[in-house]
């Protein structure tokens, strides 16, 4: 069953794929959303959510570990039978496809607001589609290479937030547990959208070279994301006053707007445009998982045509819907709900089912 020999990925690629699938547009507004519900203690939500996600992801990998060479499609086929398995996997693929479009839409709205207010929405999506198609049509190994390269290329980005250090005030974070634990717990669900992405381990796990490190790798990737979010949120909280942070939609970008150099002003524009590299990792992984799965469902070896179809469809959807910030927000909320199911309900359900299934099989073979 080792059909993936050509597309094996190394541990580092695996880690960064997990991390890349998580970090998208969510981070730009995350500090504000956290401040709205949990005030200045919002950053603690990130750590709590991280712990929960570590558990969920470990559970996913524990289920997958029993069938190391099965992609999620094979797994579902094996567990639920050919037709029922396909029926069950279909909503998951739709979720991935929808996620891809949603991230592109979010990014498109940012680009539109910051750079190209008069350009039609679908043209911007078309722009995204060109490089994405070139990469997505290749195997997972190419995705992984792209993800690793753009991760290291954009490694300097978080450090630029440090230029706002002059306006930091540690007092903004105090006192800790201002209103007790209540608001902190309430803020946790807000992070779901930002943390979604760990579900790609279902798809990429079979490609991993050294399967024994799958859980370690996942934990590292997830922790990387956590540190990244924590850092950005803390910087935003330090920079903006507790009462003021809720008045800006994207604290990170507003913060960057203040950074000026002698030779370059308006750093948020440079940052946001280059941030495309970071976000593109995210949507590419989701779209890859989608088109790879659909082509596997239809027993096609090459997923190029599906990738092309996906992007055409995405452009068509954007052309028809003409998303606004409100629509994108609705989509994001919907995805957060779906994400809760995929991130937490699915792994638990699957794990329990597999245990039952195994026992049943063992009894039968005995």
């Amino acid at each position: 069953m080792r059909t993936y020999a050509m597309n094996e990925i190394t541990l580092m690629q695996y880690i960064l794929l997990v991390h890349g699938a998580q970090v998208g547009t969510g981070i730009l507004s995350l500090p504000r959303q956290l401040a709205e519900t949990s005030g200045t203690d919002g950053w603690m939500c990130i750590i709590i959510a991280w712990a929960i996600n570590c558990l969920a992801g470990t559970l996913m990998l524990l289920s997958a570990r029993k069938y190391p060479d099965f992609t999620i499609i094979d797994l579902f086929n094996y567990l639920f039978g050919k037709w029922f398995g396909k029926l069950l996997i279909f909503p998951l693929i739709c979720y991935f496809g929808f996620f891809g479009i949603d991230i592109m839409t979010n990014t498109m709205l940012y680009i539109k607001a910051w750079f190209l207010p008069k350009t039609p929405e679908y043209v911007i999506i078309l722009l995204f589609a060109i490089p994405s198609f070139l990469i997505v049509r290749n195997g997972l190994r190419i995705q992984a290479r792209y993800v690793v390269l753009s991760f290291f290329m954009m490694l300097w980005m978080p450090f630029f937030l440090l230029f706002s250090m002059d306006s930091w005030n540690v007092l903004h974070l105090l006192p800790l547990f201002k209103e007790g634990w209540g608001p902190v717990i309430q803020g946790v669900p807000k992070t779901i959208f930002a943390y979604t992405g760990i579900e790609v381990v279902f798809f990429i796990y079979p490609f991993l070279q050294k399967k024994q490190y799958a859980i370690h790798g996942f934990l590292i990737g997830n922790s990387l994301t956590m540190l990244y979010y924590l850092y950005v949120t803390l910087v935003s909280f330090l920079f903006f006053t507790p009462d003021g942070i809720t008045s800006v939609n994207q604290p990170v970008l507003s913060l960057l707007k203040n950074i000026e150099f002698r030779f370059l002003e308006r750093f948020d524009m440079i940052f946001l445009s280059l941030y495309l590299f970071v976000v593109s990792k995210c949507w590419m992984i989701f779209i890859y998982c989608t088109v790879y799965s659909t082509s596997r469902l239809l027993n096609k070896q090459d997923h190029t045509s599906h990738a092309a179809l996906y992007f055409l469809l995405a452009i068509a959807v954007i052309y028809v819907v003409k998303p606004t910030w409100n629509i994108a927000d609705e989509w994001q909320t919907t995805l957060s709900y779906l994400g809760t199911v995929v991130l937490y309900v699915l792994p638990v359900g699957l794990y329990l089912y597999i245990r039952g299934f195994e026992r049943f099989h063992r009894v039968k073979t005995r």
Partner: protein, 508 residues
């Protein structure tokens, strides 16, 4: 691609197999007739008939005039044959020449004559002796023009394949240096040699290379560049997928890194494969200059890469979309100089870029002194006058000039031209979508580089896939003694290349 395939399948076969395998006749006269028939309009074909010593058997020496070395022909073949020596073999006295072989079929005979060998037909014998008297007008060994080096050797490859092999052998006198030969081209019959180090180079890559070479079915391969185009991985890529060099020292060092060298007879440049993107930004001089200096120069090249690729595009984006990022002082001065220019920024930039490209191309065709004049006239006069006439802005001239300088810093000519070409689509994207357009362009480029392969090995290595070990010799060059491993991007089977210790000053 199918379009091309159809054509090649339809190529007709000029000779049939039976015709080619005809044996040699017994009678000399018949043989001479046959040769004359095979070479109808060939005034350079010489047939010299004589009686051989010591028994007086009639014989004929057949050769192409310009392709054989007259000196050795006359003194080492004709003299012993006609006047005799001590040693007699097969009824004739043995010529004092080492390269000789026996041919038995007509097709071999024809080939041997065409290659410049001289053939001895003897009456009553059904075999022909071919003597290696190849000799043709040759160029001396010179410093290659395109890749002149400051500190490396000043020898360059020449047009004779065998000589090129010997130049490389001088650098690597090692039994593991293997050479496999192939003939390419139905008419041209070019000799192509693949050189590699048996215990370093990866056998899979060798197989891939040999398969690709054997699949080339063309009339003739005149130049290495032609061959490269037939065997490269992605013909639609703007990037060169093989390194082509005229320097034996760089070829030798690439061999030692586990790469393959393909020498094409009659062409002074060789193919080095598999190539990676960053290897085009390295030169032989890098290793003979001190490592700190080299590291600086390497970084300079990477900066130049970005300048050459993105500077005009960034300029266009900044002045037609994202003027917010320019500081106010600069903004005012740019706007003031732009105010006189009647064209949109893209047209302004395109005009100047095309002008520069034309000057460069014109410079190549012209003899050196005139070329310089063109450079001065173009650069100073046209630039200055254009600004004064209000056709372009001052800043545009600066942008174009720095771009041009940056694009000439690359050690590889092929990569330089690729980058120069790529900046036009970048400029177009910038003029359509501003910074976002540039970023999308870069993403496309990165996506392409990541997916591109050279002989099945990743082209983006050591950046994508990331190989941290190779970083010692990518953006910077660390001291040679830290690089005790061969670069991993060539997938060598012998990984360690030197001892880790080095003699240190007083510990010796």
């Amino acid at each position: 691609m199918r379009f091309f395939d159809k054509k090649s399948a339809a190529t007709d076969q000029p000779h049939n197999q039976a015709e080619e395998d005809r044996p040699i006749h017994q009678a000399l006269a018949q043989n001479i007739e046959e040769v004359k028939r095979s070479f109808p309009a060939a005034p350079d074909l010489t047939i010299f008939q004589f009686d051989t010593a010591p028994h007086g058997t009639p014989g004929a020496l057949v050769f192409l005039d310009g392709l054989s070395d007259k000196n050795s022909l006359n003194s080492h073949i004709l003299r012993p044959l006609m006047y005799g020596t001590q040693e007699v073999q097969k009824d004739i006295s043995l010529p004092t020449i080492s390269g000789c072989r026996i041919l038995t079929t007509w097709s071999d005979v024809e080939n041997a004559i065409l290659q410049g060998e001289s053939l001895l037909f003897l009456d009553g014998q059904q075999e022909v002796t071919a003597y290696d008297t190849k000799g043709w007008p040759q160029r001396g060994i010179e410093d290659p023009q395109l890749e002149s080096s400051l500190k490396g050797g000043h020898q360059g490859f020449v047009e004779t394949g065998m000589q090129n092999i010997s130049l490389i052998r001088r650098y690597i006198p090692n039994l593991n240096l293997r050479i496999s030969e192939q003939k390419i081209g139905r008419r041209g019959k070019t000799n192509v040699w693949i050189l590699y180090l048996e215990d370093i180079a990866h056998p899979e890559v060798l197989q891939e290379l040999e398969t690709r070479l054997s699949k080339v079915d063309v009339d003739a391969v005149i130049n290495t560049g032609e061959l490269a185009e037939f065997i490269e991985d992605n013909p639609f890529s703007p990037f060169p997928q093989f390194i082509m060099t005229e320097r034996p020292d760089s070829a030798a060092s690439q061999l030692l890194a586990g790469r393959f060298v393909v020498i094409v007879d009659r062409s002074p440049s060789v193919i080095i494969a598999p190539a990676t993107f960053t290897s085009f930004l390295q030169s032989v001089d890098d290793y003979s200059t001190r490592w700190l200096v080299t590291s600086f120069i390497r970084l300079l090249r990477f900066i130049a890469l970005f300048i050459a690729l993105l500077l005009p595009a960034t300029y266009i984006a900044f002045i037609s979309y994202n003027y917010e990022v320019i500081p106010i002082q600069l903004f005012l001065s740019v706007a003031e100089s732009r105010a006189r220019v009647p064209f949109p920024p893209l047209i302004e930039a395109l005009m100047m870029e095309i002008m520069i490209e034309m000057m460069r191309e014109a410079g190549i065709r012209l003899p050196a002194p005139v070329g310089q004049t063109i450079g001065i006239v173009g650069g100073i006069v046209v630039g200055q006058a254009a600004v004064q006439a209000g056709i372009v802005s001052n800043i545009m001239v600066i942008v174009v000039a720095s771009t041009a300088i940056a694009s000439f810093i690359f050690p590889s000519y092929d990569m330089g031209t690729a980058v120069r070409l790529l900046r036009f689509p970048m400029m177009l994207m910038a003029s359509l979508f501003g910074i976002v357009g540039i970023v999308i362009g870069c993403m496309t480029l990165v996506g392409h580089l990541v997916a591109l392969e050279s002989l099945g090995t990743p082209y983006g290595s050591p950046l994508a896939p990331l190989r941290l070990v190779d970083m010692k010799d990518t953006f910077v060059r660390l001291p040679l003694w830290t690089m005790f491993r061969r670069p991993t991007s060539t997938r060598p089977i012998q990984k360690i290349r030197m001892r880790r210790e080095r003699p240190r000053g007083d510990q010796r």
